[in-house]
């Protein structure tokens, strides 16, 4: 396209623009507002609502600003009598069939149609004929419909085609009979489908769980960060009287653009689950009883001290959720180390720790999220990408659609809604061998740990050659290890081979990590072999696997549900059962903790605490509490601080979570992570028993305690399949 700069004049103001830009882009950039419904900056141009008609000098009819390219010397009038008259006429037509049921519409008060009708509508309708009505659709548990309100802007249709990659909605019929519909009865199942609620400019598509539960103007909008995947999407919680009523995206081009995943949008329902713990609980001779905070904290401190014992051996350990805030992870690690134990781990779903000594400071994406769409080639290893990190899958899709060579090495075939160059699939036992073959194809030497694979790896096929060639050729390439690779019984070897492959082909190595804060947990020292800021420890403690294999006397759970959050669920429950003292900091009273813990302290969910999440880019994102804590629940950092005081932990007088963050940030805030492993890195190489892909793939709505309790998400197709033991896996290509 011609990149010539042109000068145009809008309402008498001279503006510079690139030739070929649409008028709407130029006026938006200059803060000149032109009314619109169908135009959306992230979607293609449809020009079907006609609301953005403007007058252009020497053109004898009004032109739609969204679809009119600027030309040099163009004189535009957005508020001239001709423009206003065209806009008002458009509005009159749009309102002909609109029911004007604003008083009973959830969109009322935040409705683009309502707002523009204020500006451009008549106060009296001239239309006296019958209005049409349209039957509603059942689009599933997340999106409610009132199709009579639809003005046919087709934003939702274009969202499906262009962003989600699967068109679930379409425009059926024509003229007066046109309807937005799935035609056959079909729910909308894509993991980003909730975004059609936001882009719908009227009340046709709305938030089903939130339906009729609040009014837009009653709520407060509070910024926070979504904790369910490693991106840390920017969100707003809409809060009424201290309760989160809904979650919407907060535009952040660096992370989530204007979108959020359904998981981030609807997880808030889990905050208000029936099994929320409202008061501290102490087990008293086998019976649970509620307790005051003072007594419970004292019992917790005494229990930990007693379990820790007076001897040099370490008898206690802490399991920290990878979605716990950095402050929580840091204080828990400090507390454990104060009690003489390095048994601290947040890698609850990891199975292989043999290469941990060489692990990067924290596993990162190796690049900015916003850079992903400009990748030219990528090899994604062991990932059900769309379900693991939906919005990263969207970024990868952007790259694929732009022509990048996206290759997979996976344990099962998952459906991707973008062109894939090579899809290599094998059993879990095969994965290291296949990576070794790629390394051989790249002409690199196998690392010592992989020598056992040498003879088998020598036979390289064409798919592998092509994949490696596309990586080697790319100016911007990535080898990305997904969550399934991370949970693999030979993760160390996989990481080592992937690192060597990235080095040999001259691309970056990236990781997709568990939870919302794996990076923060690593930096906070929630690891058995490293302290805050990645400091090497002289006497490494036990990993989560060790703590399960040789049960400890005392265990501390921070936001963890052993039977759901650990790779070895049965072993984790057994370890909790056999421990003499178990302290749980948890929002919920359920499962093995309710059976086997000794003290359970009610802590706030992500919405009820302030804190910091460090995303997979290494971006520190601090947020304030957005909702009032339920019952007597308290932010976990405050609970940990008091516990620290009771256990005489020095310098533990933080008044705010920011003070904790700043203390850690001064040690770890400037550190950068290099994912490429050092030359001497090694990992366990003995072959492992076959692990079915289903065991490594955690269903999208089972990832953490809050999401598991989000009722509407559990009613979606993904939610139902997970509960009935079916994953999103397809049997054939």
């Amino acid at each position: 396209m011609d990149q010539k700069t042109v000068k145009i004049e809008v309402n008498g103001v001279e503006l510079q623009a690139q030739a070929g830009q649409m008028l709407m882009e130029v006026t938006d950039a200059a803060d000149i507002y032109i009314p619109r419904f169908c135009y959306h900056e992230k979607l293609s141009i449809a020009a079907n609502c006609r609301m953005c008609l403007v007058e252009v000098e020497d053109v004898h009819k009004p032109l739609p600003a969204c679809a009119t390219p600027v030309t040099d010397g163009m004189k535009v009038f957005t508020k001239s009598p001709a423009a206003i008259s065209a806009q008002r006429a458009t509005m009159e037509f749009l309102l002909i069939n609109h029911p004007l049921d604003c008083p009973i519409c959830d969109q009322g008060g935040e409705c683009e149609l309502q707002d523009l009708a204020m500006g451009y509508g008549r106060d009296i309708s001239r239309y006296a004929e019958k209005k049409r009505s349209v039957q509603d659709q059942d689009l599933g548990p997340l999106v409610s419909t009132d199709m009579t309100r639809c003005i046919h802007c087709t934003r939702c249709v274009r969202f499906g085609q262009e962003i989600a990659g699967i068109q679930e909605l379409g425009t059926m019929g024509r003229g007066e009979f046109m309807e937005i519909s799935t035609y056959v009865k079909n729910s909308v199942d894509h993991e980003l489908s909730g975004n059609i609620i936001d882009i719908c400019p009227v009340g046709a598509l709305n938030n089903k769980p939130y339906r009729y539960s609040a009014r837009a103007w009653e709520m407060e909008q509070r910024a926070t960060v979504a904790p369910h995947d490693c991106l840390g999407s920017s969100i707003y919680a809409h809060v009424l009287r201290g309760r989160v009523k809904r979650v919407v995206p907060r535009q952040n081009e660096q992370i989530n653009e204007t979108w959020i995943s359904d998981r981030d949008r609807f997880s808030y329902e889990g905050i208000y689950s029936d099994d929320r713990l409202m008061q501290p609980m102490i087990r008293d001779g086998g019976e649970w009883r509620t307790s005051s905070w003072e007594a419970a904290l004292e019992a917790a401190a005494a229990g930990l001290l007693e379990a820790a014992g007076g001897d040099a051996a370490t008898h206690i350990g802490a399991w920290i959720s990878p979605s716990a805030t950095t402050e929580e992870a840091y204080l828990t690690a400090r507390l454990m180390r104060h009690l003489g134990s390095n048994n601290v781990d947040h890698r609850l779903r990891t199975r292989d720790f043999s290469g941990q000594e060489y692990d990067p400071l924290f596993p990162s994406l190796g690049m900015d999220i916003a850079e992903v769409p400009s990748l030219e080639a990528a090899l994604i290893v062991g990932s059900n990408l769309r379900k693991e990190v939906p919005l990263l899958a969207h970024r990868v899709r952007q790259a694929a659609v732009a022509g990048a060579s996206i290759n997979f090495l996976n344990l099962a075939i998952y459906e991707y809604l973008f062109p894939i160059a090579e899809y290599m699939v094998g059993s879990s036992a095969d994965l290291p061998l296949q990576l070794a073959r790629l390394l051989v194809a790249a002409g690199a030497e196998l690392p010592k740990s992989a020598r056992l694979l040498a003879s088998a790896a020598a036979s390289v096929d064409e798919d592998q050659q092509r994949t490696v060639a596309s990586l080697a050729k790319a100016d911007s390439g990535l080898v990305l290890l997904g969550q399934m690779a991370r949970r693999h019984p030979q993760f160390g070897l996989i990481q080592l081979l992937a690192s060597r492959l990235a080095a040999a082909t001259g691309v970056r190595l990236g990781h997709l990590t568990e939870g919302g804060n794996s990076a923060g947990a690593c930096l906070a020292g929630a690891l058995p072999h490293r302290g805050a800021g990645g400091a090497r420890l002289n006497d490494p403690g036990q990993t989560i696997a060790d703590m399960i294999a040789t049960p400890l006397r005392g265990l501390m759970m921070v936001g963890t549900e052993p039977e759901r959050d650990c790779a070895d669920a049965a072993g984790a429950v057994a370890a909790v059962e056999s421990a003499e003292f178990v302290l749980a900091l948890s929002p919920y009273f359920a499962g093995s903790l309710a059976q086997h813990a000794d003290v359970v302290l009610p802590t706030g969910t992500f919405a009820e605490t302030s804190g910091t999440l460090v995303n997979v880019e290494g971006r520190w994102q601090s947020f304030a509490a957005v909702a009032a804590p339920l019952g007597e629940a308290r932010p976990a950092w405050k609970v940990l601080r008091v516990l620290g005081n009771l256990l005489e932990l020095a310098d533990c007088h933080y008044l705010t979570s920011e003070a904790i963050r700043d203390e850690l940030a001064s040690a770890a805030g400037q550190l950068e992570s290099d994912n490429l492993l050092s030359a001497k890195a090694s990992a366990r190489a003995d072959s492992q028993a076959e692990t079915p892909a289903e065991d490594l793939d955690i269903p999208m709505y089972q990832v953490d305690a809050v999401v598991r309790r989000a009722r509407s998400l559990q009613l979606t197709r993904d939610g139902r399949q997970a509960r009935h033991g079916v994953t999103g896996r397809r049997e054939t290509a």
């Binding site: 068109q167 679930e168 379409g170 425009t171 059926m172 019929g173 024509r174 799935t182 035609y183 056959v184």
Partner: protein, 166 residues
């Protein structure tokens, strides 16, 4: 070869017809063949298409099914509900109207005992709801029966045409 051809409920003839149309468009633009494909499927299936047939067309052309539904519901030439096997469209545009198409329509309605938009209970005849100008004004009033034009209609002529239908 388009994807999804391994298992399809489309007949060999329909597939050949769709392939003939695909070949008329540049590679990768097989979407352009969708209307012709729907015509072929509808012709073979007794005058209407079903969601299953539309899904098969979508699969054959490698399109999202909803795009085929959009096209099938947009064009009045494609019927998306069961209709009689003979399709009758009486033109009611201006020239035919001036030449008495209203009487032709009411004659057919009373003869068949159905209204515009309905099919006879025996599934023989479908009277299309509203037909726009079929470009035979010189022979107004006119109607199209299946794909044949009949012009200068009178009630008697209509009777003869309808009675001759199998």
């Amino acid at each position: 070869m388009p994807s999804g051809t391994e298992q399809t409920i489309l007949s060999d003839q329909v597939q050949a017809e769709i392939d003939r149309w695909i070949a008329k468009f540049p590679q990768g633009r097989q979407r352009s063949a969708v209307l012709a494909a729907l015509h072929a499927v509808q012709h073979e299936h007794g005058g209407f298409v079903t969601p299953e047939l539309m899904d098969a067309v979508a699969n054959y052309l490698d399109l999202p099914a909803v795009q085929v539904y959009e096209i099938a519901t947009f064009y009045t030439m494609i019927e998306t509900r069961p209709v009689g096997r003979h399709s009758i469209s009486v033109c009611t545009n201006i020239s035919c109207m001036l030449r008495g198409s209203d009487e032709i329509v009411s004659h057919i309605e009373s003869k068949l005992g159905i209204e515009l938009g309905e099919s006879t209970p025996d599934g023989k005849i479908y009277l299309k709801r509203e037909e726009e100008c079929l470009a035979a004004c010189c022979g107004a009033p006119m109607m199209m029966v299946d794909h044949a034009y009949h012009e200068d209609l009178t009630p008697a002529k209509v009777d003869a045409i309808l009675d001759a239908l199998e």
